[in-house]
Each structure stands twice: as structure tokens, then as C-alpha cells.
């Protein structure tokens, strides 16, 4: 009984917090604003007086506060963790301060990350990132090839997500890891194909999943963009391939919307970790939408284009 009614309090709290998320009508209002202050007023009216500004760190802390034992949620942060690993390694090699490059929230201790890497005390890092830290460090110091090191860390991230989602047995997290990998793989394969990257590089950069076979994707990427798009079409990703050929921005939106579609499946669940993960994804999407509006407004982009780029919302 306990396993099926886990996190009743956390899910109920999240349901209450969902009321403060922006809705489609709020986004339309925001798109029609002329100034930053107008946008701030609209957001403040949705959040209510005294409410804190929405940040992923605060959302994460809140969720962890309610469900501190829910380790499967950590998978949501793996992309940030691996990004921070790359940032720390590159900063160390370039002799720069890494703190401005870190993204939060993260499962890593950012204060000790650089000293741990410098001392090669990899055992002090979480298990899922340990071997990648060592391999990436060795690769970077040996080749000074930042792009290759990035690819190595990114594929390791996807593999860690898939492996740990399997380990926790969460179907939601499995699908999340799968979708994230598919999106990243398509993007990487497309870029590699345009840049005419060699086989050795593509093999490092493409992770593969049960949805998209790694070897076939690598071969398609080597064959050029037309072959790749054809392969994606035959693999059931025709829409994604079409959008990718049209514009990278549209493909990015497709990826985010696919993740949101998954998040929406958790809307009807009264218990468990899924609604908590879905809320985190919803907050992430909301912040992304706000950033798009803000950047597009500053760049003077027209309303229709901004509307077209808005990600699907959770509420």
C-alpha cells in the first residue's frame, strides 16, 4: 500500500503550486507587452503577493523538501551535472574561474568540484558521473579537444540517465531519458552531418536508445543530411526530421513539447514521483518561455514568431 501512495503530501503541495504557473492567456498577455516592467507586473499578478520569484533551484529544493528519499528525481538534474563537470574541467584547463559557467540546480557539490577533479579524487563524486569525469579529464588533457570532450560527456550523461531510469524502474523516467536521448541524438547527428564530421567523432557523439539505433543513426549521419532525414522519417520521426530541415528553433520546440507531453501524463496521478518530476519540467518550460519572450522582445521579433516559439504548457 505504501508504494502506491508515495509522496501524497508532496503531490498535493505540487497541485496547489500548479495554480501559480503561467497559463496560455498569461503568455499571450506577456507577448503583447512593450516593456520589462509590464511583464514583471503580469507575472507578479499570477504568482500572487509575497510569492518568491520562480527559479528552478527553489522548485528543486521544494520538491526535495517534500520527497527527500526520492532518488529517481535526481535523473532530472543529470544534464546540469554533466554540464557542470564539463565547465569545471574546461575552466581548470583554461585557468579560469568556473562558477559563472555552472548551471543550477545540480546534484554535485560545486564548491568542491574543481578541487576534487584537480586532485583526481573521482571517488568523491557521485557514482553516475565518476568514470565520465576521469575519462573526460584524460581526454581533455591529452587532446585539448573541447568538442570531443563535450561529446563524450554528453553521451555519458544520456547513458547514465537511461541506466539509472532502468535501475529505479520508473516508466516515467525511462521515457524521459529515452526522449531526451532521442532529441540529443537527432540534433547531434544532424550537426555532424552538416559539418561532415568523421566516423570516429560521430560514434563518440551519438548515444543511441531503444527508439533510435545508434549504428543506423551514425551511418545515416555519415551519409549526409538527406540520408539522415530519410532515416529519421523511416524510424517514425518524420515530423521531427521535417522541422529540423526547416529550422533548428522549430525542432527545439518539438523536443520540448515531446517532453511536456510526457509530463502531462502525470497530471492525473494522485501519488508517486511522476507528478513531482512533471512539476519540475513544467517550471523549467515556463522559465524557458519567459526567457524566449524576453530575448525576442529585446531583439524586436514580431509577436507571431514569438507565439510560434512558445512551448506547450503544463497547466
Amino acid at each position: 500500500m505504501m508504494s502506491t501512495t508515495r509522496y501524497a503530501d508532496a503531490v498535493a503541495a505540487v497541485r496547489a503550486m500548479e495554480n501559480f504557473l503561467l497559463r496560455r492567456s498569461d503568455l499571450e498577455q506577456l507577448i503583447n507587452t512593450e516593456s520589462e516592467s509590464e511583464r514583471s507586473n503580469i507575472i507578479a499578478s499570477r504568482r500572487g503577493t509575497g510569492a518568491e520569484e520562480l527559479s528552478l533551484e527553489s522548485v528543486w529544493e521544494l520538491i526535495r523538501g517534500y520527497a527527500p528519499d526520492c532518488d529517481e528525481l535526481r535523473i532530472l538534474l543529470y544534464r546540469n551535472d554533466f554540464h557542470n563537470l564539463k565547465a569545471a574541467l574546461k575552466s581548470m584547463i583554461a585557468g579560469r574561474e568556473p562558477h559563472g559557467c555552472y548551471v543550477r540546480p545540480t546534484g554535485l557539490d560545486l564548491d568542491t568540484l574543481c578541487p576534487v577533479l584537480a586532485a583526481k579524487e573521482y571517488e568523491k563524486l557521485p557514482q553516475y558521473i565518476r568514470s565520465t569525469a576521469e575519462e573526460t579529464y584524460e581526454l581533455l588533457t591529452r587532446t585539448l579537444d573541447g568538442q570531443l570532450a563535450d561529446s563524450l560527456a554528453d553521451t555519458a550523461c544520456m547513458r547514465a540517465m537511461q541506466r539509472d531510469a532502468d535501475r529505479y524502474g520508473s516508466s516515467f523516467m525511462k521515457r524521459f531519458a529515452q526522449l531526451t536521448t532521442v532529441c540529443a541524438d537527432i540534433k547531434t547527428a544532424y550537426r555532424c552531418s552538416i559539418m561532415k564530421k568523421p566516423l570516429s567523432f560521430i560514434e563518440t557523439a551519438v548515444c543511441g536508445s531503444s527508439e533510435l539505433d545508434r549504428d543506423q543513426l551514425v551511418r545515416a549521419s555519415l551519409g549526409g543530411t538527406a540520408v539522415l532525414l530519410g532515416f529519421l522519417e523511416s524510424a517514425g520521426y518524420g515530423q521531427a526530421a521535417g522541422l529540423l530541415a526547416e529550422s533548428p528553433a522549430k525542432f527545439e520546440k518539438w523536443c520540448d513539447d515531446a517532453i511536456m507531453e510526457l509530463a502531462c501524463t502525470a497530471r492525473m496521478q494522485p501519488f508517486g514521483a511522476e507528478p513531482l518530476a512533471a512539476y519540475y519540467i513544467a517550471a523549467e518550460t515556463e522559465l524557458k518561455n519567459l526567457r524566449i519572450i524576453s530575448v525576442c522582445k529585446e531583439a524586436g521579433i514580431d509577436r507571431d514568431t514569438i507565439t510560434e516559439r512558445m512551448r506547450t504548457l503544463y497547466v
Binding site: 501524497a8 503531490v11 497541485r15 496547489a16 517534500y66 494522485p270 501519488f271
Partner: protein, 157 residues
Amino acid sequence: MTNGLVLAILGAALAALLAGIGSAKGVGLVGEAAAGVVSVDPSKFSKVLILQLLPGTQGLYGLLAAILMLSRIGVIGGSPAELTAAQGMMFLIAALPIAVVGLISAVFQGRTAAAGVGITAKKPEHNGKGIIMAAMVETYAILALLISILLIYNIKI
């Protein structure tokens, strides 16, 4: 004290015990969910409190059945009846409907009410629907109580 009386008292104890455990679990679960909502929006306290109370009724039904049974066999009055083993067994069986159905229905009602707390959190104006859905589970506890009472009063001493 006869074996029959022991069996009858066991029945009364089970009615109070199992239905009470079910209620404690149900109320506890809804309480967890309610606390989650109130921590974000304290103004919803009264609405979620109603939902939390719903799984508590099975415990009361079990208590009622136990009191009726103890009264019937004279334990409450201070002059316990001389029951045969068969009569005692009949009292034990009479307690089972509310004991078992009370336990199970309270747990399930707790789950339904906890899900109803989610409705209250997102759409407070639809709070009543959450209450109705949880109250539907109550039907079976009431039916079980009715059967237990009918049995208790129709056993010849």
C-alpha cells in the same frame, strides 16, 4: 468465563481493532496530502479537513458494533451471558463484516480522499466532487455495519 464468551469478546475486539486500523491509515494518508496543500495555501484548511474526516467513520462503525455486541452479551452491563461455543462463534462471525470491510474500505476511502485533496488544491470550487467520490466508498462500510448489527441482534442467547 465460557469459551463462547471469549469468542464473542474477540469478535467485538476485532470489530473495533480492524476498522480502527483502517481508519487510522486512511485518515493518515489524507492528512499527509492535506498538509501538503495547507503548506502552500493555508486558506484551504477547512476544505481539506472535510476530506480527511471521511475515512474516520469506519473506526466509529467498528466501535459502535463492538459496543452493541458487548452490550448484547452483557459485558457492559456487568453480567456476562453464559454463551456456548457455537453462540460465541456466531458473535465472532457477526463482527467480521464491519471488521474486514471497515479495514479495507477505510484504506481505499483514504486513497480516494487524498486524490480529492488534489482536486481541492487545483480547483477549490470543485471540492464537493472530491467529497462525493470519497463518500461513495462509505456505502460499503455502511452496508457491512448494517449486516453486523442485524447479525448481532438476531443471535439467540
